[in-house]
């Protein structure tokens, strides 16, 4: 299990390859990568991601441990960036390795659902006309009810 909270960018391909190079018993590897989307108006200058150092690592570790306890997983990876990002930049990724695909998929979705609403990150969209904190979506909170 690896949890990384970092300002610098990460290489999805290198991370995926390193993660998948683990135990041969893991027949199924799932990755999810979040990418900064531009605004509908196409004028996103910067996406600023604030976080709560200390709590962030604790919250992500707890979510990952919970996933390891609920599904039969060989390994879990969570990387989340903070700081200033641009449209097209990769914000975060999770990866799960399991014997069976069902466990790998469900655990990855669980990680994403909890990470969205329970890890202390806040996004701010900065355009030439101002800055707006991204509002939490009801559907993200609702997504937790299925677990």
């Amino acid at each position: 299990m690896r949890i990384a909270v970092q300002e610098e960018e990460f290489d999805l391909g290198a991370e995926a390859n390193a993660f998948a190079a683990g135990d041969d018993a893991n027949g199924a590897i799932v990755t999810f990568t979040g990418v900064v989307r531009d605004l509908a108006t196409g004028d996103l200058d910067v996406m600023e991601i604030e976080h709560y150092p200390g709590m962030t690592e604790r919250a992500l570790t707890k979510i990952a441990q919970e996933a390891m306890a609920r599904w039969c997983l060989g390994d879990v990876l969570v990387i989340h960036r903070h700081g200033r990002l641009a449209a097209g930049d990769r914000i975060m990724m999770v990866a799960t390795a399991a014997r069976h695909r069902k466990d790998a998929f469900e655990a990855a979705e669980y990680l994403m659902d909890y990470l969205k609403s329970r890890a202390p990150f806040w996004k701010k969209e900065i355009t030439s006309s101002g800055a707006d904190w991204v509002a939490a979506k009801d559907e993200d909170e609702d997504a937790l009810t299925r677990w």
């Binding site: 709560y52 890890a119 806040w122 996004k123 701010k124 939490a136 993200d140």
Partner: protein
């Protein structure tokens, strides 16, 4: 106790962190105490349903006790991922 503010709560109150000496028994008591202090606190805490609180880096509730707590953080709902 250390009190931390994040995102728009931090912006509205105008600082990321402060040290507070308080006798507040619960988070709600602390909120009332801070809100009475200055308008910027009252503005930040106007709608508690739009806020979350963490005690010693664990998500908690506004009616939770502050006994033994060293760090309180206020922030809006998270938007990671």
């Amino acid at each position: 106790m250390d009190v931390l503010y994040f995102a728009w709560v931090r912006e509205r109150i105008g600082l990321p962190k402060e040290r507070i000496e308080t006798q507040a028994a619960t988070v709600s008591d602390l909120v009332a105490e801070l809100s009475a202090r200055e308008d910027r606190y009252a503005a930040a805490f106007a709608d508690l349903s739009a806020l979350r609180v963490a005690l010693d880096q664990e998500l908690s509730d506004f009616d939770a006790s502050l006994t033994g707590v060293r760090e309180v953080a206020f922030f809006p709902p998270m938007t990671g991922g």
